[in-house]
């Protein structure tokens, strides 16, 4: 499989913008640690989105300014954050009732791998020397209504992260709705990967060459 041409495709910022465009007004959203956190910066004006952080806050605001950090007000990544007016605090069982009970509309997550059928692996590389750690990842993919994955299309060593079958241990099966990579936006529809949008200068052929899983192009107007 050839390496990505690093000069084409979307930047991480553009990827986050693409995700943000697909978050509807009034949505309750949980953003995973890392790249997903960028999404909050790009919600189009006129839309109000409420952020849930699984450690017990609905109505998470921006990152805390330097000098105003409160070690007892953090997000799931343990970063110092703020709370918006109209926020609510709650304990972990209530917080995961929101997740498991299907009350969160959208969760944006990173991934090691996503499969053709919408399986996701994002908690363990299966490397026996790594300390196992799962956090809330399995709860989120099992419970949240819509799972968006934001990820580089390939690993640093050039391997496709969008695969026929995940080789890493699964976080969840048939759970991903849409993948935002630097090369394309891809929907998982009936266990098939349908390309919804190609990044500038990325052809479908190029995308397929750089993707282990089988892709198809969305039909016009679909």
């Amino acid at each position: 499989m050839e390496l990505n041409n690093k000069n084409i495709g979307w930047s991480v910022t553009e990827m986050a913008q693409k995700v943000a465009m697909d978050i509807n007004d009034g949505a309750y959203v949980n953003l995973g640690i890392g790249m997903p956190e960028l999404v909050a910066g790009f919600i189009p004006e006129g839309r109000e989105v409420i952020y849930h952080t699984e450690n017990g806050l609905l109505g998470m605001g921006k990152t805390a300014n330097i000098g105003t950090e409160d070690p007892e007000l953090v997000n799931a990544g343990k970063k110092y954050v703020t709370a918006i007016p109209g926020a609510a605090y709650f304990h972990h069982a209530d917080s995961f009732a929101m997740i498991r009970g299907g009350h969160i509309d959208i969760c944006v997550l990173g991934a090691y791998q996503v499969s053709e059928e919408g399986d996701i692996a994002n908690w363990s590389t299966g490397n026996s020397n790594d300390i196992p750690a799962v956090g809330g990842a399995m709860d989120l993919v099992a419970g949240v209504k819509t799972i968006f994955v934001i990820t580089k299309h390939s690993t640093k060593s050039g391997e496709s992260k969008i695969v026929k079958q995940c080789t890493y241990p699964l976080t969840g099966k048939n759970v991903v709705s849409r993948i935002y990579s630097n090369l394309a936006i891809i929907d998982v529809i009936n266990k098939e990967l349908v390309v919804r949008e190609l990044a500038p200068e990325v052809t479908f052929k190029y995308l397929q060459q750089n993707t282990e899983a089988k892709l198809s192009l969305a039909k016009e107007g679909s």
Binding site: G86, A93, A97, M98, R100, I104
Partner: protein, 238 residues
């Protein structure tokens, strides 16, 4: 932008469909969303399944809904009260179905639905007629019965105040089934005595976070059910 405030109870209950499951908060009259129930009487949806701790008093509120023949079945822990006349009459005639559920099991089955738990084990009701026919399992030498989540299409909940996000606070023991019923329904409809500005409710004291609430109606002076019952009022108003 988010604004869950509806102008009227009528508007808030307009889309309740025949055959819907509707949870109704309250322990007796405390926390009973009487204006929402009356709006549902006016709206007329039939063949409803109701989930409520009691079965109504006199001829108002839930009793009026039952009397108006809109209720096919009720999940209830205590349908028998001194001033409950409507339910007993229809029940004896076989015109309304009852699933009697111990109060704590009822509460937990409602919470389970809201928390994405399809079923759980409890010791409550083991060795009693209410556990007959249910799956049992032994944990640590004790027998438990499997109880299933009760999901609803709509919940009617009364609270003391809400903001436009649907963050709720309650008043004293009127809280009872409100918070868990908010969690368990696809569409939760709340009647609040007061609508507050965003930020007026302390985030540490929010009882129901807005994520569990879809619609809020301000009912500043809710009817006093026990007074209506005492005055032998009927809804629709006689």
């Amino acid at each position: 932008m988010i604004n869950k405030i509806y102008k009227s109870a009528k508007e808030a209950v307009a889309d309740i469909f025949d055959g819907a499951t509707v949870m109704i908060s309250g322990f007796g009259e405390a926390g009973s969303p009487i204006e929402l129930i009356h709006a549902l009487v006016d709206q007329g949806a039939k063949n409803l399944t109701i989930v409520s701790n009691n079965a109504g008093s006199g001829h108002v509120g839930l009793a009026a809904l039952i009397e108006n023949k809109q209720v096919r079945k009720i999940f209830c822990s205590f349908p028998r009260t001194a001033i409950s006349v409507v339910f007993p009459e229809l029940y004896r005639k076989g015109e309304i179905e009852l699933e009697l559920v111990p109060q704590g099991t009822l509460a937990e089955r409602i919470r389970a639905a809201g928390a994405g738990i399809p079923a759980f084990f409890t010791q409550t009701s083991v060795n009693t007629p209410l556990a007959e026919g249910k799956d049992k399992r032994v944990f640590n030498d004790k027998t438990y019965v499997l109880e299933h989540a009760i999901e609803a299409d709509f919940s009617f909940v009364k609270c003391s105040a809400s903001d436009k996000y649907g963050n709720l606070i309650y008043n004293k023991t009127a809280r009872n089934f409100g918070p868990i019923m908010c969690m368990a329904a696809k569409t939760t409809i709340v009647q609040a005595k007061n609508i507050l500005d965003v930020g007026e409710i302390d985030p540490e004291c929010v009882i129901t976070p807005g994520i569990f609430v879809k619609r809020v109606v301000e009912i500043t002076n809710p009817a006093d059910e026990s007074k209506l019952v005492e005055e032998k009022r009927r809804y629709p108003w006689n």
